[in-house]
Assembly symmetry: C2
Homo-oligomer: 322 residues x 2
DNA sequence: GGGCGCAATGAAAGCGCATTCAAAAGTTTC
DNA sequence: GAAACTTTTGAATGCGCTTTCATTGCGCCC
């Protein structure tokens, strides 16, 4: 493997000049720059990343920690992070915590030793631990706010309001809310908006796992409330609800309406297609990454970013039954 | 930040001993080992990864390249890689190529400069390019075979056979095959098994994008063949086919049966639930990663691994119409 | 034409660790 | 008790690069 030294001597310059020619081209005369570049290509030179990292103090890696890669919502975030990172010539170290909140802190701290900054998507890590992690290195939160830390969140409260208004306009006055995990920040955030729409009573049917089976389990509870519509913490739950309602012979949307949250791909694969609050997850991944660059470079606090959401009306919501 | 030097002097030993105490504990006397470990904890010492990497020539990172993180199949593989890597104290650098085969080679080569080995999931990269990449560093292929290179694949041919036998048993004698992308290795592999089941005629309806819309488009073609069953390249396509059939008022499974490939989560979310050939994707990610360790450590060729698949019968397949 | 400022260059000093090598200490064997 | 090992230790080297600092060459102005 050719080193920078080799390139330098092949080009007839010092290693210092060779280094500059490759990483700060405009500090070197055109002639030498071309000599170096030519030599580098001829020798098929690839800089040693570890050496660059050690000498410069920058790994050009960013970390991404999330609960579950197989969850389409998190996968969408990962995709956004990844895309934005590549644009800025960074690589992404991904760590899936497997929904294990206890392992999370260790994973984060470990990752922090090898990255320039971290995008943390951890709905359930205690706030105190998050602060600890933030003290150890640049960090941006996704889908969660902690005072004083940079974050990218969604205006889910507005989403809840939009969904409830939509349902009210369809004549629904009693809506069941199927919640997500207890400790989830975004669930808490959404719940606060449940009472904001006049003329709509929201009945809470409790906390549920944010996956299909969680929805299956919740459906019967929701049905039991006598509500004419069900608002779900996320689409996976909503799809579970739809499955169970179908099994029980309850017609959607004629007997009952269902609204989800996220707008994952599967929302359009099912019948009826799912009315849902679309959340720009991929965009959030991008924003978080670009916010992270800012925080790193300027060591500013980083203004929290809040992205707009949008209700997408499909077939699972319809007029309330008479 | 405390360095190894600091720890060493705090423990009253040389840096060499400190280094050994932490990374090769049994080459150091018990007494000194404890002094060092104690000092390291007291100073909150964290080794500098870049320095370790430079000095040892090992980054303890592995790379994972795949076409699309948002695709549940690839996400499942990523999860497996991630899990296995953490078990061996490796971190995973993920690169999503965004289904752009032209960018792929550059991405791979770039990633190879910062990892100890690579898991490559690239259904469409030309074989020649793959060989090039393999020459540049340890590499394991997933869901694809190339002579002489280590790989983890699935016995999809057996899956196709199982699916066709299942359909034949249900009285189907004419089956439409909705193919995946033209250049896809696994599509080619599956096609070879299409003619192996006596008494079942398979009609090829061509190559399609391996996503929902691809299936929507393919459904009409499949219907046009007069087949009584449709076998699809993957579940996403199958779900698209189901959507379109529903729109056209074709009943599944009474009018026509549909079988997919992969067994993604959504296969159970839809109605009818999807009969599909289950592929152990997460396991493949694990196997690939562990195979990569072997290849790295022993510089052996690495025996290709072929994982078994299994037909999961659900509601989308039924007796052929009379 | 001499002094000044600026751009271009190279020598050299690390970045923080692993690892080699030789020396020191401790153990066994006859 | 000495020779022959083995284990434990520290000094020193270098991984491949970036970056500071001093030096050189050069155009420019008065």
């Amino acid at each position: 493997m050719a080193t920078l030294r080799d390139v330098a001597s092949a080009a007839g310059v010092s290693p210092a000049t060779a280094s500059r020619a490759l990483s700060a081209p405009d500090t070197v005369s055109m002639a030498k720059r071309h000599q170096v570049i030519e030599a580098a290509e001829r020798l098929n030179y690839k800089p040693n990343r570890s050496a660059q990292a050690l000498a410069s103090g920058q790994s050009r890696h960013i970390g991404l920690v999330l609960p579950d890669l197989a969850n389409p919502s998190f996968a969408a975030i990962a995709k956004g992070v990844q895309a934005q990172a590549r644009g800025t010539r960074y690589s992404v170290l991904v760590a899936d915590t497997d929904e294990d909140p206890r392992a999370e802190r260790a994973i984060v701290r470990d990752l922090q030793t090898s990255v320039d900054g971290l995008v943390l998507c951890s709905p359930r890590m205690p706030e105190e631990e998050i602060r600890e992690c933030a003290a150890a290195g640049p960090l941006v939160l996704v889908n969660r706010e902690v005072d004083g830390l940079p974050s990218v969140t969604f205006d889910s409260a507005a989403g809840v309001t939009q969904a409830l208004q939509h349902l009210r306009a369809l004549g629904h006055h009693r809506v069941a809310y199927v919640g997500g995990p207890e400790a989830s920040w975004s669930d808490a955030h959404r719940r606060r908006a449940l009472g904001t729409v006049e003329g709509v009573d929201v009945v809470d049917v409790g906390a549920h796992r944010p996956i299909h089976t969680g929805g299956v389990a919740a459906a019967d509870l929701a049905l039991g409330t006598g509500a004419t519509a069900i608002l779900c913490y996320n689409d996976l739950i909503a799809l579970g609800v739809l499955s169970r309602l179908r099994t029980r012979g309850v017609d959607v949307p004629n007997d009952i309406s269902v609204v989800g949250f996220d707008d994952i791909g599967a929302a359009t694969y099912v019948a009826p297609t799912l009315t849902t609050v679309a959340i720009p997850l991929t965009r959030a991944g991008q924003e978080a990454t670009s916010l992270l660059s800012q925080v790193r470079d300027t060591s500013a606090d980083g203004t929290p970013v809040r992205l707009p959401v949008e209700l997408v009306v499909r077939d699972s919501s319809g007029p309330a039954p008479a």
